[in-house]
């Protein structure tokens, strides 16, 4: 693949994942600006360091970078709040993002699902989003999250059981 082809392929890849990546970051971090920052960081790192890798590796690499960026952000925020002795702000995914009119246009299930995803433990949330939404394999999810395949299965099963109730499943 020449340089222009790689650029086009990267552009297409990022355009395909950016909104879901933003959502994933948003569910974990709560704030829109923070989510945009970590997605941008993940895009930068992928383009600068891993663009030369085969394109089929971009997705797991990108989500690995994103997961690391989210974890880093959590650590920084925790340190900052520990320094100033305050409590961590509560994460409320989607709370300030949508206008009431836009909210009305959303499916009721989608809104309830988002709220419930926001309440999941971090690892269950990541497992669910990577496995169910991004449709990554158990092995890929394990590599991205840096945990065992067994742990992925456990986290995913628990998340699915909790969220599946919303669908009546």
């Amino acid at each position: 693949m020449n340089r222009d082809d790689t650029r086009d392929a990267l552009d297409q890849f990022l355009a395909g994942v950016e909104r879901r990546a933003y959502r994933i970051a948003r569910y974990s971090l709560g704030g829109s600006d923070e989510a945009l920052d970590v997605v941008q960081e993940a895009m930068f790192r992928l383009c600068e360091r891993y663009a030369h890798r085969p394109s089929e590796q971009w997705k797991p690499l990108f989500y690995r970078i994103l997961a690391n960026a989210i974890t880093d952000h959590h650590r920084k925020t925790a340190r900052k709040h520990a320094r100033i002795g305050g409590a961590m702000p509560a994460s409320e995914p989607g709370s300030e993002e949508f206008e009431p009119s836009a909210m009305l246009e959303q499916s009721e299930l989608g809104a309830r699902l988002e709220a419930e995803i926001g309440r999941l433990p971090e690892q269950q949330r990541q497992c669910f989003l990577l496995r169910c939404w991004e449709q990554l394999s158990v092995a890929e999810t394990a590599r991205i999250m840096g945990i065992s395949i067994g742990s992925v299965k456990t986290h995913y099963h628990r998340a699915l059981a909790r969220l599946g109730v919303l669908t009546g499943g």
Binding site: R3, R7, L10, D11, L14, A15, E18, R19, R20, Y22, R23, S32, L36, V39, Q40, M43, F44, L46, C47, E48, A51, G94, E97, F98, E99, A102, E105, Q106, S107, L109, G110, A111, L113, E114, C132, W133, Q135, L160, L163, G164, L166, T167, G169
Partner: protein, 145 residues
């Protein structure tokens, strides 16, 4: 009685239905992202791609310098090889046709290869020109000796 295989299949298909339903609900939420967010995501993407292009264009500098370093090494090795064989073997007048005569040709070939390389940028070209000059200077010293 239900066979275990059929039971597993039913569980799998029920799970798949739940997954599909959840996925659909999540996808529906993507459509509702505020324009400001989608605009900023697109900007971030373009900035990342531009950075990557800059990184790509910086690469030749590294490649070029590596090439220059390779030429330097080759020049040193060739220079050492000829110095080891030439002293005392040739009469002073024979330098022009002996191994020393072959040295500039080999080095010149390397320099031409380096200069024609697409990896070469201005900085690396300057390094190679300096090497060329140093080589020429060492040849003058050899001739003077």
């Amino acid at each position: 009685m239900t066979k275990p295989d059929q039971s597993n299949d039913r569980v799998d298909s029920a799970t798949k239905r739940v997954e599909a339903s959840l996925r659909e609900a999540l996808e529906s939420r993507l459509e509702a992202l505020p324009p400001e967010v989608t605009r900023r995501l697109a900007e971030s993407r373009q900035a990342a791609l531009t950075r990557r292009s800059r990184a790509y264009w910086r690469r030749p500098a590294v490649g070029g310098l590596a090439l220059a370093a390779s030429v330097l090494l080759a020049v040193i090795l060739i220079g050492q090889g000829t110095r080891e064989t030439t002293p005392g073997q040739d009469a002073p007048g024979q330098h022009a046709t002996g191994p020393v005569a072959a040295e500039p040709t080999a080095t010149a070939d390397l320099l031409i290869l380096a200069i024609e390389s697409e990896d070469l940028d201005d900085e690396a070209a300057t390094v190679i020109q300096d090497l060329d000059f140093m080589l020429w200077l060492s040849q003058q010293d050899d001739l003077d000796a």
